[in-house]
Subunit: 309 residues, 2 copies
């Protein structure tokens, strides 16, 4: 029986493991099927994780974390978790190989993954001009031009965020109207830094070794336009990685919102006793390393509090 199973080994999971083991929990396993570190390791530049004067790559930032977080007894199991379910007072973790493990507490830190748009050049230039996060990467395009792809609330809010920083924002959307809330649409319309590029799809994002140089956009009549903006932000939806919480009957083990994000309180507690969530999988997650790490610490301290209670 584990005291705690942590599902996912990004900043939230690693920090949860650090705080749990350093706080005296004995049997703590972090399940992560890849190298610990999370999706931030794919990022080429990070300058907003507090504590570092110079800009780091994601790999540089995360390199010390596993050693630091695992030196108090956290075990990393290189395994994929298929499912978490209730088993009397405890939880049963089912691995992809069929193994089943019991745990008294669970912290789910499986994050969320931006949906890909499927555009030529998207993968090639990911982290080198193509981004899914204005908060993270917008500043690198200060006083430069950027493109934003998408038509929902997130795309428009991120376009407004970018308009505060960048010289110009091309908002590219395949339809002639937006799915976003009317108020947000109005703010976008009023913003003279945002140019709407409607009824249009992106044929290609192009660039060279230094990164993105621009994109070729095609309107509904087939006319091509070359938008020479070195930043290309894609907001076509998120996959919340909540699969492990799906039960046989299709329901979720705990309450989630309409997008599948796990509902937590300030202590990272879900509505199920002993089940916690931390990082990008939870509601209102700002999707920043420092916030995910803070969440992990909070969740682990809540587990310890529960065990002492």
């Amino acid at each position: 029986m584990l005291d705690l199973a942590i599902i996912g080994g990004g900043p939230a999971g690693l920090t949860a493991g650090l705080y749990a083991t350093r706080g005296g929990l004995k049997n703590v396993v972090m399940y992560e099927m890849g190298l610990p570190g999370g999706q931030i390791t794919q990022s080429s530049e990070i300058e907003n994780y507090p504590g570092f004067e110079k800009v780091l790559t994601g790999m540089e930032l995360m390199e010390p974390w596993p050693k630091q977080c695992m030196r108090f007894g956290l075990k990393h199991e290189l395994a994929e978790v298929k499912n978490v379910s209730k088993m009397d007072e405890n939880f049963q973790v089912t691995l992809a190989n069929g193994d089943k493990v019991l745990a008294k507490n669970i912290i789910v830190c499986t994050g969320s993954t931006p949906k890909r748009a499927g555009i030529k050049g998207e993968d090639e230039f990911y982290g080198k001009g193509v981004s899914n996060c204005a908060t993270c990467d917008g500043f690198f395009y200060k006083d430069k031009e950027v493109s934003v792809l998408g038509g929902g609330d997130t795309a428009l809010e991120e376009a407004l965020y970018l308009a505060n920083i960048c010289k110009k924002v091309y908002l590219i959307h395949r339809r002639d109207s937006f799915r976003a809330s009317p108020h947000t649409v109005k703010r976008v319309m009023e913003n003279d830094k945002i140019e709407l590029v409607l009824n249009s799809t992106v044929k290609e994002i192009y660039g060279d070794e230094s990164g993105v140089n621009g994109s070729i956009v095609v309107d509904k009549d087939g006319n091509e336009r070359d938008i020479k903006a070195p930043g290309f932000f894609i907001f076509v939806g998120m996959n919340v990685n909540n699969g492990v919480l799906k039960q046989e009957d299709g329901s979720f083990l705990c309450k989630v919102n309409e997008w599948g994000e796990v509902i937590v309180d300030l202590k990272m507690r879900t509505d199920v006793e002993g089940l916690f969530a931390a990082g990008d999988i939870r509601i209102e997650a700002p999707k920043q390393v420092v916030c995910a790490a803070g969440d992990g610490a909070v969740a682990a301290l809540s587990v310890i509090e529960r065990e002492n209670h």
Copy 2:
């Protein structure tokens, strides 16, 4: 008119400033009457701020923060804030010198300060064996003995936390019963690692250059006892630094709980539009650097969202 005034320059305030200015807010001032960094700079060892393999001092940890956080335009004003009040749609910040500044948004990051017990040796050995935080410093006494002073919920919960890590916990309390919740008292009573030292006060905490060696405890009959534990944890209450939120009529500018901690949601919003709180001043704060920093980022992103709305 400031876009944002940040009150307090610890991890929460600095990170809020980083995210606010990097996100494009133009007029952002952080009021901090001392050197930025916060109370963590007094700590002699930190090993749970994620990202560093080796143990750091508080000064080492915080040294890069001001430069990193201020390079996007955050201004530090070396001034004491006396009061924040509403002024029509905005806020008025009154400084100790009488100056008044208007701001559209406020993030309060003034933290909380542990009450001192007033014991001989307490100040001398603060950070060298005397601590106010089991989560921070408990692990340094793994398999060693520690003393805990206090009789409230926090003292007992911290004693339970320490009992998971340490060989033995002496729980010193001046009365013969505890003010804590009955369930917590029961858990403490049942824990065979915790020895109750009741009806007792501490005459002195003693040690040498290497830190605390023990303390002299006096019972109600005047008998002295030498408790040779190298860790001494003091939990005799917290001062929540909410003075700037106090209004002329004695009320607070926003909702606070029974201890004076500011009530926030997951976005660090108070019940007053445009007023946010981050770090140790808020409810349920785990009082950890990484959590305070995460709060600061969240609060700043909430300000930007509000300004874009």
